[in-house]
């Protein structure tokens, strides 16, 4: 059977070495930062492409976010994804329940338009907010099975055999499609976009829906402010430069009882 796959991705800042907050303490200061697709979801895009290369079918990428999140949809299309959907919001962050409701509404709209997804891939958790729940909420609303944390995915007929790490080993699940699967980085190594891919993605259409802010007063998780964890107190001890530092380094290893006596 061919597979029609939807991948949900999130636009997040590329944090690099240091996080700085905006003065209102509600956002990461991104004046000097670039943005990227959250890492687990990039692997979701790759997995969708590989599955469709193997089984045939279609790939669609979706994101919920501000207008600039179209960049991440184009990144996915540059990798080879065929269609893109932007659920456009303002600058305020939506909580996982609100995000899942909007995705479900769109999946139902797509189904009515003839795109009935066999598989919805999400990331195990978004790199920034780390809520671990959007995919499961989507699955519940659609009445579909869900497994999170997946690092291996094989599809035979209408069954998905998925594996995830547990206690140093693996847990194996067999679930029927249609399903929602949350993938983890390591399931694959995402490809780089090609130049023709980039050019094609630049001009590709994006289905865009303008969403209005979720109604106030709904039970939600509402961020009030961000703060940085306390910084490490004192600076470390410099053991020296180059090979001359090696005796001091071995001495430290002895002191820490890594090398005995």
């Amino acid at each position: 059977m061919t597979l029609d796959i939807l991948v949900c991705v999130k636009r997040v800042p590329a944090t690099g070495g240091k996080i700085t907050l905006t003065p209102d303490e509600r956002h990461i200061d991104t004046r000097y930062a670039s943005f990227t697709m959250s890492p687990h979801e990039e692997c979701g895009v790759e997995e969708a492409l590989r599955l469709v290369e193997k089984h045939g079918g279609t790939t669609t990428v979706l994101t919920l976010g501000p207008a600039v999140a179209a960049d991440q949809l184009r990144d996915a299309m540059a990798m080879g994804v065929q269609r893109a959907i932007l659920l456009q919001t303002g600058e305020n962050e939506w909580d996982p329940g609100e995000t899942a409701r909007a995705i479900v509404t769109e999946i139902e709209r797509q189904r009515a338009a003839g795109h009935d997804f066999d598989l919805v891939l999400v990331g195990n958790e978004a790199a920034d907010s780390g809520d671990y729940q959007v995919g499961i909420r989507v699955a519940h609303a659609l009445g579909r099975p869900a497994v999170n944390g997946v690092k291996s995915l094989e599809i035979t007929g209408s069954t998905a055999v998925v594996k995830r790490e547990a206690a140093g080993g693996w847990e194996i699940f067999e679930i029927d499609l249609p399903a929602v699967i949350g993938v983890k980085e390591g399931i694959n190594l995402p490809r780089y976009p090609t130049v023709p891919g980039r050019l094609r993605a630049k001009k590709a259409p994006i289905e865009t829906r303008m969403l209005s802010e979720p109604a106030d007063g709904l039970a939600s998780l509402r961020m009030r402010r961000l703060k940085l964890p306390p910084a490490k107190g004192e600076k470390g001890e410099t053991l020296g430069r180059g090979v001359e530092a090696v005796p001091a380094l071995v001495e430290v290893l002895r002191r820490l009882e890594i090398v005995t006596p």
Partner: protein
């Protein structure tokens, strides 16, 4: 009242309470006291009966032991387990339901939140009941904190690992109440169908006492052989940064970081790793951090306990030789190296 979802691990020696669940109970007990109510726990599967009694020592007054007679609940089935937690919640009406911030805890609470249509706050480090309830939770794997209002008739949350120390209290044995949920066949459509047991002959990255980490600065996949040898001399294992797995130099299983493995060794020796937040989140639980980097201004140098500024191509062979000598001298007087 507070309801705590308990995880236990099965081992050949029998069921064992999960450490992170015990840490979560420390917060549960605190919240129960603040709300002047009892702390209840839910344990799923008859296999948990043997650990239920010991929860009294962590402040639990009543354990709801969930069994349905069919044996189906003995193996992990997220949707069915969550349904059982929802049923216990409806029966005992807690102010909040807590689970540990583990893969399983997050998955179960996400299902509970979906089934009850209530928000879930993941990885909380502080929880303050009130109107509204306020939580502090981890973002970016803990490199950023968020203060948030948590709504909902029942507060649902997971507790970030290592935010609370497990506490033992003098208390009576808990009352064990059997609970039989009404489950449908469809609740079991996701259930563990098989397992691959861990390879116990290898030192796992998550449990290693010494980790030697390599970044892009190592230079090539072949150059990791030197790190392997140093790790072996120190009785540890090799890890790497995300840059290295993205280059295809090492398997993802070796990756230390937010999207890789969280390590907690006695020593993390980071070689040629710049110290991106994504990586530092994964090694924040290391007791000691030594960084070797040619760039004295690399972010990792400000966070390390000891630093060496230098070229890995020169420092590492010299370190290997010194360790060979140090370890070799004592090889007969085992154990020379932990």
């Amino acid at each position: 009242m507070i309801l705590a979802v308990i995880e236990y691990d099965r081992s050949p020696q029998g069921a064992q309470l999960n450490d992170l669940s015990l840490q979560m109970l420390a917060l549960g007990r605190r919240l129960a006291e603040q709300l002047h109510g009892p702390l209840h726990a839910v344990v799923i599967g008859a296999g948990g009966r043997s650990v239920a009694g010991s929860l009294g020592g962590h402040g639990v007054a009543v354990v709801h032991l969930v069994e349905d007679g069919s044996g189906r609940l003995e193996e992990y089935a997220p949707q069915a387990w969550a349904r059982a937690i929802v049923e216990v919640t409806s029966a005992v009406q807690p102010a909040a339901v807590l689970a540990a911030g583990t893969d399983r805890g997050h998955e179960l609470m996400a299902h509970v939140g979906a089934q009850l249509d209530l928000p879930v706050a993941a990885n909380c480090t502080e929880v303050t009941p009130g109107d509204p309830w306020m939580v502090t939770r981890l973002r970016w794997g803990g490199s950023l904190l968020e203060e948030a209002e948590l709504g909902g008739a029942v507060k649902l949350l997971t507790v970030a690992p290592h935010s609370f120390a497990a506490e033992e209290v003098d208390a009576a044995a808990p009352r064990i109440a059997s609970f039989s949920p009404q489950l449908e066949e469809t609740d079991f459509r996701v259930r563990v169908a098989g397992r691959v047991e861990p390879d116990r002959s290898k030192i796992s990255l998550a449990d290693a006492k010494v980790v030697v980490g390599g970044g892009r600065g190592v230079g090539s996949p072949e150059a990791f052989a030197l790190l392997e040898e140093i790790a072996s001399l120190l009785g540890g294992t090799v890890g790497c940064s995300r840059a290295v797995t993205s280059l295809g130099w090492r398997p993802h299983a070796d990756q230390v970081g937010q999207t890789g493995t969280r390590i907690a060794p006695d020593l993390y020796l980071a070689c040629g790793i710049s110290g991106a937040i994504q990586h530092m989140v994964g090694c924040r639980s290391a007791k000691h951090l030594i960084a070797i980097n040619k760039d004295p201004d690399a972010p990792i140098m400000a966070q390390a306990d000891y630093t060496v500024v230098g070229d890995l191509q020169q420092v590492l062979p010299a370190l290997r030789d010194a360790l060979r000598e140090a370890v070799g001298q004592h090889r007969d007087a085992a154990p020379a190296v932990r």
